[in-house]
């Protein structure tokens, strides 16, 4: 309020009347004084007093005590005074509902005034008074005003319906105002149409399922006609409303587009952006080979570029939207890189957004220019901007291979500047460049090492440590460098600690002789002196690995790394599509769906892009797909086709599972299992074999973790780690280790142990079926099923002796099969099987056997031998057997992988009549290692994004759509994407099986 008083001198300034003097009402007793003035007979004095009241109100002073006196001034023919009183009423009516009634009469009277301006003023103000009692009185005048002869009154009344609806929705419906409002869409005056559209759109938002707007070709035509004639704001309302319409076919879509494109030349940026929204949305429906489609794409670029010459705030909104458009349709702006170059005096928020778009548009064609620019930016003042620019240089290197060399040398130049944050940022990106192009740029390591001391940010330190560890063999003093970091181990952030641990283990594996002490030190720091569970767990895993099987450790720790993504911060495709439907709005500025920032249910329903007409593909975007590259660590070709499918079982190459990596450390020796040869009997009796499988059972049975781990520890022994109690923490798979792809053999078992213990047996096990009828097998009946328990695949078999003689000497062997299933141990039918006796056996299986593609894929040919004969049968296993426990994909990776898998690899299925909701389905599926990575709710649909990993490392991504809104539609839709699309239908079968049971 102080500022109000300093303008006192204006009071006496003579003829030119100013209003600032009214801000001088702070003195005590002012309210009393004002009261007197308000009740004065003189009109001028009254008006002065009301002005003072409004001024007090503005600065937040409570002048509600004057309510009756102000309302008394309402009955006046002075329009200015009336407006001021109305303003006061709108502010305070809610706090004084009883007295507000006093105003009703005047309102009703004003609604009949011959002057249309006054009628409109009354109806406009009345709608803003949120008092129930007044609302009732409002209905009649409003009804009249909606049909008023003057368009100015009608356009005001149209908005008033929305106001009233906000106060009392039921009343509006009961009074039939909605129908009147709908009629106004056909009004002759364009502004009335625009306001009616705005009001209806708003009301429709709170009734998502009502067909309130009832957009049909006729109304659309009316709207398009009004579009040419109404004010810029009206055009925005109409375009935003049009964007909610879904044309019936591509021809209608095209004709709307044709009538909307002229708006792209409007001076008002919001009109342009709303038109862009309509076009971007309806374009989805146009066939791509249509000439018009190409024309439209060309027409979109210039107006988007023009938006960049608007005021900075609008530029910001435009850039945020362009960011979305570039992701959705990169072809529109691919030649416009230059306009996104940063200007020296752009506001920082514009600079940062431009930089983002520059990276997205960078390609081989323009990379030289982009790099030159980025180099300039890296010398600017603003720290955030400089960092982002440096990071962008790294992104360019990763995105455009041809530029990598130049990028690296640019980064080295920047490191030479010794500007602390530039150096750190450069090191972080160089790490990624090393990842992307291994064995190419390691010559720069020496330069990087020079800057070790200046790194004070965790991310940069971690990156540097990673580099030292990764290239330990090329850095002579790697051990010294890492040791220097180790000194302050406990002061480092977790990120750095984890990286340091891994780096030293890498170093040890590369130079075991000199670094034993160092690795001991870091392991004990990580496991004994740290209370961070991640760090401890990772420490233990390394320790265990190193002490059990250094070869395996090497395979895990120094495994080949998955490719890193070329694109960063990509928006998930369904969210992107939704945001495209929200172009121009806040959602597109925040890059978040409205539900993320809007309270309540208003306007948060999800929007979807229309599907392209005449093609089965959903709202996918192949263009973006091309721009994105692989992030998957799944090998593309997995199932080698090996010659003749119908190999004679007798000629089977019965290679033992040991031929790969031994499943369990050396203590276990599996002999070659020659089913048909004479070695079988001796094998059965083999001491080591039995003990090995005994050991196996112990590991696999779901015992408390400490127990089994100690067991393991005791077994392998010999390392200090084994003396340490594990404290019951189940050994999970820390993220860092997860980077190692497809852990095979013994390591697989090690992790299965960890994973298996944690997972409760929730998977569906189909009942046993007869695989080998007695008739065909000389009295031996075999029925069986498959199950996955604690991460180990079991074949549960029942042997029934239906013959008259005792059966002994059982053995089993598999033909080569698609996923390399093989018995992990011999068949344990230890006692002879008497006639009519049944014995249940559970045979653990490994997936390290020989691989051959079968038809169907999940076919398994089995040979069983007993003392009587050899019998052959085939059975099919549910593919869910092969879903491993670490099949939960990281969200980001999921997103990138999904995009990366070409859409022809996508298979669609329907699961009919399934009554599960998304949570139940998700839980059920999780039991079988189908993991829900993310869930989104769109309209009345829940979408579950799920990942599955097979034992052979194939990833399968699925989107499961569950209707939630309509209890009658119980069909689920399943889309499966996989690099090996032949697996998809088996996955679908599993979904069916699991969800139905």
């Amino acid at each position: 309020m102080e500022w109000a008083s300093q303008l006192c001198e204006n009071r006496g300034l003579g003829s030119k009347m100013t209003d600032s003097k009214y801000f001088t009402t702070t003195k005590k007793g002012e309210i009393f004084e004002l009261k007197a003035e308000l009740n004065s007979d003189k009109k001028e004095k009254k008006k002065e007093a009301v002005k003072k009241v409004i001024a007090s109100m503005t600065v937040g002073k409570d002048v509600s005590a004057l309510f009756p006196d102000v309302v008394n001034c309402m009955q006046t023919d002075n329009l200015e005074l009336k407006k001021l009183v109305y303003l006061y009423l709108m502010n305070y009516a809610k706090s004084q509902p009883d007295m507000a009634i006093m105003a009703v009469n005047t309102f009703v009277k004003d609604c009949e005034d011959p002057n249309p301006l006054i009628r409109a003023l009354a109806v406009r103000t009345m709608g803003c008074i949120r008092v129930d009692k007044i609302t009732e009185y409002l209905c009649e005048p409003l009804r009249k005003c909606l049909k008023d002869e003057d368009p100015y009154v009608r356009k005001t009344a149209a908005v008033c319906v929305a106001k009233l609806h906000d106060i009392n929705a039921q009343l509006v419906e009961d009074q039939g105002f909605l129908d009147t409002l709908k009629d106004l869409i056909s009004d002759s005056n364009p502004m009335v149409v625009a306001n009616a559209v705005a009001a209806l759109s708003e009301i429709a938002e709170s009734h998502p399922n009502s067909n309130l707007l009832d957009l049909n070709p006729q109304t659309i035509n009316k709207l398009l006609t009004a579009l040419n004639e109404c004010t810029e704001w009206g055009q925005i309302f109409i375009l935003d409303c049009l964007a909610n319409y879904t044309p019936r076919d591509d021809r209608e879509s095209q004709s709307i587009c044709e009538r909307v494109t002229p708006r792209l030349s409007h001076a008002n940026s919001a009109v342009v952006l709303s038109a862009v929204k309509v076009l971007m949305k309806f374009m989805e429906m146009l066939p791509k080979d249509l000439d018009y489609y190409g024309t439209l794409l060309k027409k979109l670029a210039p107006p988007l570029v023009t938006l960049l010459s608007a005021e900075p705030e609008l530029q910001y909104v435009a850039l945020r939207n362009i960011n979305l458009i570039v992701q959705k349709r990169p072809e529109i702006l691919k030649h416009e890189m230059k306009v996104f170059f940063v200007k020296y005096n752009d506001p920082i928020y514009v600079k940062l957004e431009k930089l983002d778009i520059m990276i997205r548009l960078a390609s081989q064609a323009n990379i030289a220019q982009v790099l030159a620019e980025l180099k300039e930016y890296a010398t600017e003042v603003d720290v955030d901007f400089v960092r982002k620019a440096v990071r962008a240089i790294g992104r360019c290197a990763i995105k455009v291979e041809q530029s990598a060399e130049r990028c690296v040398s640019t980064l080295l130049d920047l490191i030479q500047t010794k500007v602390n944050y530039v150096v750190q940022e450069a090191i972080v990106v160089i790490k990624d460049i090393f990842r992307k192009y291994p064995n190419k740029y390691e010559s720069v390591i020496a330069t990087l090492c020079e800057n070790l001391d200046s790194l004070d940010e965790p991310e940069a330190r971690a990156a540097m440590i990673w580099i030292v560890g990764e290239y330990a063999e090329r850095i002579d003093n790697a051990d010294e460098l890492l040791e220097s970091f180790l000194e302050g181990f406990h002061d480092e952030s977790t990120q750095v600690q984890l990286q340091l641990l891994t780096a030293i283990v890498k170093l040890f594996l590369k130079k075991p002789t000199e670094t034993q002490e160092l690795v001991q030190q870091v392991l004990s720091l990580a496991t004994q002196d740290s209370d961070n569970p991640d760090l401890r767990d990772r420490g233990y895993i390394y320790w265990r690995l190193l002490s059990t099987d250094p070869v395996a450790a090497k395979e895990v720790v120094l495994a080949e790394k998955p490719l890193i993504s070329e694109e960063t911060d990509l928006i998930e495709p369904t969210l992107l599509d939704e945001l495209i439907c929200h172009i121009g709005t806040l959602a597109s500025v925040y890059h978040k769906p409205p539900s993320a920032f809007v309270e309540g249910g208003r306007g948060v329903q999800h929007k979807r892009l229309p599907a392209r007409a005449g093609s089965g593909e959903s709202a996918e975007s192949p263009d973006v797909g091309q721009a994105v590259s692989a992030v998957s660590d799944a090998p593309p070709a997995v199932i080698p086709s090996q010659g003749d499918l119908l190999g004679d079982l007798l000629n089977l190459d019965l290679a033992p599972p040991t031929s790969n990596v031994p499943p369990v450390p050396s203590s276990m020796q599996m002999g070659a299992m020659d089913l048909l040869g004479g070695g079988l009997d001796s094998l059965m009796g083999d001491e080591s074999e039995t003990s090995a499988s005994h050991y196996r059972t112990e590991v696999q049975s779901p015992q408390p973790p400490e127990c089994s781990e100690r067991e393991l520890g005791g077994d392998v022994g010999g390392s200090p780690a084994m003396g340490v109690s594990l404290g019951g923490a189940p050994v999970g798979m820390p993220a860092g280790l997860g980077a190692a792809p497809a852990v095979g053999g013994g390591l697989g078992d090690l992790f299965d142990l960890g994973g298996g213990v944690g997972v409760t047996a929730g998977s569906y096990i189909p009942p046993k079926t007869v695989w080998l009828p007695a008739m065909k097998a000389k009295g031996l009946e075999i029925s069986g099923t498959f199950a996955r328990r604690s991460g180990v695949i079991h074949m549960d078999l029942s042997f029934t002796n239906k013959a008259m003689s005792v059966m002994t000497d059982f053995a089993i062997q598999f033909n080569k099969n698609s996923f390399g299933l093989a018995p992990a141990g011999p068949l344990q039918v230890l006692t002879p099987l008497s006639p009519n006796q049944t014995v249940d056996v559970s045979l653990p299986l490994s997936t390290t056997g020989p691989v051959m593609k079968m038809e169907p894929l999940n076919n398994l040919q089995v040979a069983v031998k007993n003392n009587i004969d050899v019998f052959y049968f085939s059975c099919q296993y549910p593919i869910s057997l092969l879903f491993v426990e670490d099949g939960k994909m990281d969200r980001q990776v999921f997103l990138a992988t999904w995009k990366d898998i070409p859409s022809e690899n996508e298979a669609q299925f329907q699961i009919k009549d399934c009554h599960l909701n998304s949570d139940a389905a998700s839980n059920k599926l999780q039991g079988s290692n189908i993991f829900t990575v993310a869930k989104r709710t769109v309209d009345t649909q829940d979408m579950l994004y799920q990942s599955v990993k097979l034992t052979n490392g194939i990833w399968m991504l699925a989107e499961l759509r569950i209707q939630t809104g309509n209890p009658n539609s119980t069909d689920l839709e399943l889309s499966v994407k996989c690099r090996a699309p032949e697996v998809s239908q088996y996955v679908y079968q599993c979904y069916e099986l699991i969800l139905r049971n």
């Binding site: 200015e80 919001a270 500047t417 306007g603």
Partner: protein, 442 residues
């Protein structure tokens, strides 16, 4: 839609507060002050979300205008509205300053009531508003019934920007082609980016409801005419000079509300009924064949750690008969500059320590001339590791031609109801090319 609109002074005190929606409370006023105005360094976006409430702000001198909402509003519209609001206020009481706002707070409330209804922007054309929202306030009640309906039909009508019954003794119009030429050049003289953003501003003093048609040397139109053989002889070079390029390629253009966009889209003809007085008819952007009026050739040499030698040559590149004015070259100097000696052939040059730059001003310079400045900059030794960023050398100037090459070919006026013809209208055309961001890196 917009839930509320607040205007603050630089200290964050509220000058105007108008709430349109129930979901916006008084605390929103304080939230913006605390989180944005008082923390302006940290806020790096014109859109801020505080406790699920979104604030859009623009600043005019030291006045903050903020629009508040809790819904998913059309963000572009909100900013366009805020700019419009500023235009309307400027049209009513001049500069947007704390004093003017306080002096006109009743008027501002009245305007806000009119141009924003329940948060939906309504007709905000000043021409229309001024007919019924007046600073006198009382005038409105003296309107006759006809006048009233005329007001309302204008506010809601198709031609909301012009009222009927305007009369001038002398029908006259002024066209200003105002261009700002933008350049970013590498130290080696390579054009990194260049574009012209131009505006055609029209001042019209025409009676009645005149129908206008505007023509320029737009490549698309000229080519089309050339092909069709129906060259509009009457219109050709009626107004513009005949020199320069035949036609120019316009990358994109936008038009004032009054221009019939669908007609432009289909025929590329610009036809409209103009508002009365001054307004911006169109904006356009060109990137091809731009005439760069000046070239800046910089030479910076670091002599040891404490001295810098700078030599800058500027060359004017247009017809010798034309004169450029208000030429200013700004050569940035490092922060640790201790002293500067400047020698220039023409104009005046001064080192301005507060702006960290040498400012070289030349009043006039003809085309095809060259001028040079050299400076020795003494530096204080510093242990600051960070290198000097070397901001680009920027230039300001004004030239009497359009760097894009745009020429006005005709502006025809038809007013069938009143008895004046196109020939009776006095027309003036002026071309002004100004520097936008005209920078050369050094």
């Amino acid at each position: 839609m917009i839930g509320g609109l607040f205007i603050y002074n630089h200290k964050g005190e509220v000058l105007i507060s108008r709430v349109y929606r129930d979901d916006i409370g008084r605390n929103a006023v304080d939230a913006f002050r605390v989180n944005v105005i008082h923390a302006r360094q940290q806020v790096r976006s014109p859109v801020t979300n505080i406790a699920r409430t979104s604030f859009f702000h623009v600043k005019r001198s030291n006045i903050w205008l903020a629009a508040v909402t809790k819904q998913n509003v059309n963000a572009a519209m909100v900013f366009e509205f805020l700019y419009k609001m500023c235009d309307v206020m400027t049209a009513y009481f001049g500069k947007i300053s704390e004093e003017n706002i306080k002096n006109n707070f009743v008027l501002i409330y009245e305007l806000l009531d009119e141009i924003l209804d329940f948060g939906y922007p309504q007709n905000s054309e000043t021409g229309a508003l001024k007919t019924f929202i007046t600073q006198q306030g009382i005038k409105s009640q003296h309107h006759t019934k006809e006048e009233q309906s005329q007001i309302t039909s204008q506010v809601t009508g198709q031609i909301g920007w012009r009222r009927e019954g305007i009369k001038y003794r002398r029908n006259e119009l002024f066209l200003d082609v105002l261009e700002s030429v933008n350049l970013l050049m590498s130290p080696q003289g390579q054009v990194l980016s260049a574009h012209v953003s131009g505006r055609v501003v029209m001042k019209s003093y025409l009676s009645g409801m005149p129908e206008c048609k505007f023509g320029m040397n737009d490549k698309i139109v000229i080519d089309k005419q050339g092909k069709g053989g129906t060259t509009d002889e009457a219109g050709k070079s009626e107004l513009g000079g005949s020199s320069g390029k035949q036609s120019i390629a316009i990358d994109d253009c936008t038009f004032h509300q009054c221009v019939r966009l669908s007609k432009f889209d289909s025929e590329r003809s610009i036809s409209f009924i103009p508002p009365d007085g001054e307004y911006e008819l169109m904006r356009y952007r060109t990137t091809k064949d731009i005439i760069l009026p000046f070239r800046v050739i910089p030479l910076v040499r670091e002599v040891g750690r404490t001295k810098l030698e700078v030599k800058v040559v500027i060359k004017s590149n247009f017809k010798p008969s034309l004169l450029a004015q208000k030429i200013e070259v700004r050569i940035p100097t490092p922060l640790n500059t201790s002293g500067v000696q400047v020698i220039c052939m023409k104009g005046k040059a001064k080192y301005k320590a507060s702006e960290n730059a040498i400012v070289w001003k030349i009043k006039r310079m003809a085309g095809m001339k060259e001028s040079q400045i050299s400076a020795e900059i003494e530096l204080l030794p510093t242990n600051d590791k960070k290198k000097w960023a070397r901001p680009p050398i920027s230039m300001n100037f004004e030239v009497p031609f359009a760097p894009s090459g745009l020429k006005v070919r005709y502006l025809k006026v038809f007013e069938p109801k009143l008895n004046y013809s196109d020939h009776d209208v006095i027309k003036w055309v002026r071309y002004i090319g100004r520097s936008g961001i005209y920078e050369t890196r050094c």
